[in-house]
Amino acid sequence: MATLEIERVRKTYGNIDVLKEVSISVGDGDFLVLLGPSGCGKSTLLNMIAGLEDISSGEVRIGGEVVNDRSPKDRDIAMVFQSYALYPTMTVRQNIEFGMKIRGVPPAERAKATQAAAEMLQMGHLLDRRPSQLSGGQRQRVAMGRAVVREPKLFLFDEPLSNLDAKLRVDMRTEIKRLHQRLGTTIVYVTHDQIEAMTLATRIAVMKDGIVQHFGPPQEVYDRPANTYVARFVGSPAMNIVSATLHMGADGGAEATVSMPGGEARITGIPLSAATIKGYHGQKVLLGIRPEHFSLAAETGLPVLIDVVEPTGPDTLAVFTMSGTEVIARLEPFAAAAGDRVSLAVKADKVVVFDAATETRLD
């Protein structure tokens, strides 16, 4: 159990900056998810926390202690890998006990710890099997068991679920969350799956090109993404980004004009500070609207021509055009059909405004 502070950490290979000044800090018991596409540097960052890669500059502190120059075994961490990395020639029991054996834990204690981990992860019957005789989900459990017996300050997970099939992935996700609730240990978890990030994290760091784009609680990342990249990456279907013109309304509030097939339409009541409204009066901006923030309305809403509908069961995704961009709205089942002209209301207080050039959020 420990805090984790990453301060101005950089990683360079020759002239290439893989990580450009990353600063993240999480408290004791937090579940930090590093989220981003492949090549964004999230796994590199995890390896640097683990001590498997050198830190070019900056500091990593675990429980307040600088660990930059400590070898992985002295950082009091445990790691679960994407390929599980179980030792192929050892049984499950030997796999779990290997680390304890090296640390000189007496056999009786080793057996006890293994038994406890096996019970917690329901894999007592697997202890004498070899990794090659296990299914993907079972291997995942063993890898977690190997990490748990260490009782580390920090758990590191490197895309642990991406080798599993969809159903198992959801089950194991719950399992990991349960593990976190039970042990309360600080976790750093790397994934490219935004749903995993949303469901598991207490803090998300969205990364791209070696830079943290947004660091915050999941709901904040979802509701108020720091830029259009984060807005598009988190959420499925993604947040709609449409261009609009911002005006100061008669009441001093923000109004955005979007172009619809039948002419221009206005969205009023967008939450923005007075200074921003003044500064951006009459300028082009980008609006971010989540699909679920559209709803069928009476005459007053946006006049929309539905292009395609995609029923998913719990709701229907309606595709239409807004300011020349394809937009998706999440509506009730059978709310609309292709070719319909409907009127859609927008939850204006949920609309996020981005600068048209820098694509960063305006407040």
Binding site: N47, A50, G51, L52, S71, P72, K73, I77, A78, M79, F81, Q82, S83, Y84, A85, L86, Y87, P88, T89, M90, F98, G99, I102, R103, R130, P131, S132, G136, R139, R146, D158, N163
Partner: protein
Amino acid sequence: MATDRQPGRRSHMIGRVFIYGSLLGLAAFYLMPLWVMVATSLKSLDEIYAGSFIGVPEKVTFEAWVKAWGTACIGTKCDGLKPYFVNSLVMVIPAVVLSSGIGAINGYVLTKWRFKGANVVFGLLLFGCFLPFQAVLLPMAQILGWLGLAGTIPGLVLVHTVYGIAFTTLFFRNYFVTIPDELTKAAQIDGAGFFRIFFSIMLPAALPIIVVSCIWQFTQIWNDFLFGVSFTAGDSSPVTVALNNIVNVTMGRKQYNVDMASAMIAAIPTLVVYVVAGRYFVRGLTAGAVKG
């Protein structure tokens, strides 16, 4: 149904007969020299000179084998192949162990502890595989002289070890490259060091390639003639050199039966290695399952 299946089964049978017939024919062709060797080695010299090489021995006698092993004359000594056979064993065992061991460590370092220029080092090592024996004879002789190992079995062990490293490194490097790096990382986090990871994780997983490396090295070193004849003399010669001396130096009638028996004796260890270790090789491959 039964009548439908009949023609299919018949053509299947014909196919089988053809396949097995061809296989047997080819096997017989390949085994012919072996048959000649075995048959000749079991005949008495008089019978050989009286009849043909290929025929079945009229009277089976192991005299030639006994002579080849214990009393045949090589140079001025008449102790048979036995001391030279022992020489070969004393040479081949350390040479195989050393070259395979060093190759394993090389392969491990080149894949799991990569350093700057690792690929260049590996590329240069590969040159060793393409280097003809003849090219290293003179420099090697000079080095052995400096080391005071000229003409000795340890000298030959050194030569074979050095020459073998290129191949064994290639084997182990290409095998270890298929073992996920995450395994080494996991072991590092578990607290294992360089040798702990090597001995506890990499080597046990490498059983198939260890067998391959040992078979390859054993065959190469046991069958080597050129290094043996160049770097040893007299009593320290390996069995291949002694065999040459038996066969090519004769007084009086050429003793074909002893020649054949000697050749068989010299070939038996490699055969045994193939038969015994070949099974482990297959077993190792099927029990492997290194990856997820």
